[in-house]
């Protein structure tokens, strides 16, 4: 494949998945500023390794590969800065330009409670939920992005949802009793 075709294919990938990478980054790090950095770094790294990824994908979709890059960069991000995602996603958004999510959850206490609960989940469960519900990835794609089997991913998602339900329910009781 010549360089012109490679660049064209990368442009297609970029256009198709910019929102996916940004959404993943945003829910992963909890604020727009770091999500922008993470998105930028993800595409730069993807560009560097794109030819090899295409060669090794054997025609399979490249979204899991792209999200895996973001996943690895996010892990490094936390390791370097020794910190966890910010707890209140919607608060972080208020300092930036208005975005879909903030306006959507505004006035919807149940959605706010779910977003807060997502941040309390272990990393792998949180990531699986973000990939499934924010990006609409199926089990196979999530498995490839996380480097797990399809079966393990199905169990991971099931447990993540059940744990989140428990967290939201517990937090709701706590809030109601205050």
């Amino acid at each position: 494949m010549d360089k012109a075709e490679l660049d064209a294919r990368f442009a297609d990938l970029y256009r198709a998945h910019l929102r996916d990478v940004y959404s993943y980054s945003y829910y992963r790090v909890g604020n727009h500023h770091d999500a922008e950095d993470l998105t930028e770094q993800t595409f730069l790294q993807a560009y560097r390794h794109f030819e090899r990824a295409l060669r090794e994908s054997h025609g399979r979709p490249l979204r899991p590969w792209l999200i895996r890059i973001a996943h690895n960069l996010a892990a490094n991000f936390y390791r370097d800065r020794s910190r966890r995602p910010e707890s209140a996603i919607e608060d972080a958004g208020m300092v930036s330009a208005p975005h879909t999510t903030e306006s959507l959850v505004e006035g919807r206490e149940e959605l706010k409670a779910i977003l807060a609960g997502v941040q309390e989940l272990p990393d792998d469960r949180r990531e699986a939920l973000i990939m499934r519900f924010a990006l609409g990835m199926d089990n196979r794609e999530i498995a490839r992005a996380l480097g797990r089997s399809d079966g393990a991913t199905k169990v991971l998602l099931h447990r993540a949802i059940r744990q989140l339900e428990g967290i939201v329910s517990e937090n709701g009781k706590g809030g109601a009793s205050r």
Binding site: E5, D7, Y26, Y27, T39, F43, L111, L115
Partner: protein, 116 residues
């Protein structure tokens, strides 16, 4: 799946709605990617700044930077046209335009690829 579990998943889908990337990120990222695609061309890879001090050497790299990108890449073509228009507005003559183009690509190269 029970009704309550189904409802919870619907709420979860709503809470985790996709987030649109901010316009300034799109602008910055596309500019960076265009710079990379331009830079990766062989002619620009082997080009040395020192050789560019003589304006007679500016024509070929400048032309490569402006029109040498993939014709099949809408993203790249769009961004190059945008940047070309901006440079034309700033440039009084063709020689100045070529110089600005070269400096632009070189600045991006130094910023983005310090290890190359």
């Amino acid at each position: 799946m029970s009704a309550s579990a189904h409802d919870f998943e619907l709420l979860l889908r709503e809470a985790l709605s996709p987030v649109e990337p901010p316009a300034d990120l799109v602008e910055r990222l596309e500019t960076t990617l265009v710079s990379l695609t331009e830079l990766a061309q062989e002619e620009l890879d082997s080009w040395e700044l020192s050789a560019m001090r003589d304006p007679r050497n500016w024509v070929r790299p400048a032309a490569a930077a402006l029109v040498g990108v993939s014709a099949g890449s809408a993203l790249v073509a769009l961004r190059v046209r945008t940047r070309h228009r901006a440079r034309r507005q700033q440039s009084g003559n063709l020689l100045d335009l070529a110089g600005r183009t070269i400096r632009d690509v070189a600045d991006e190269a130094r910023r983005i690829l310090p290890d190359r």
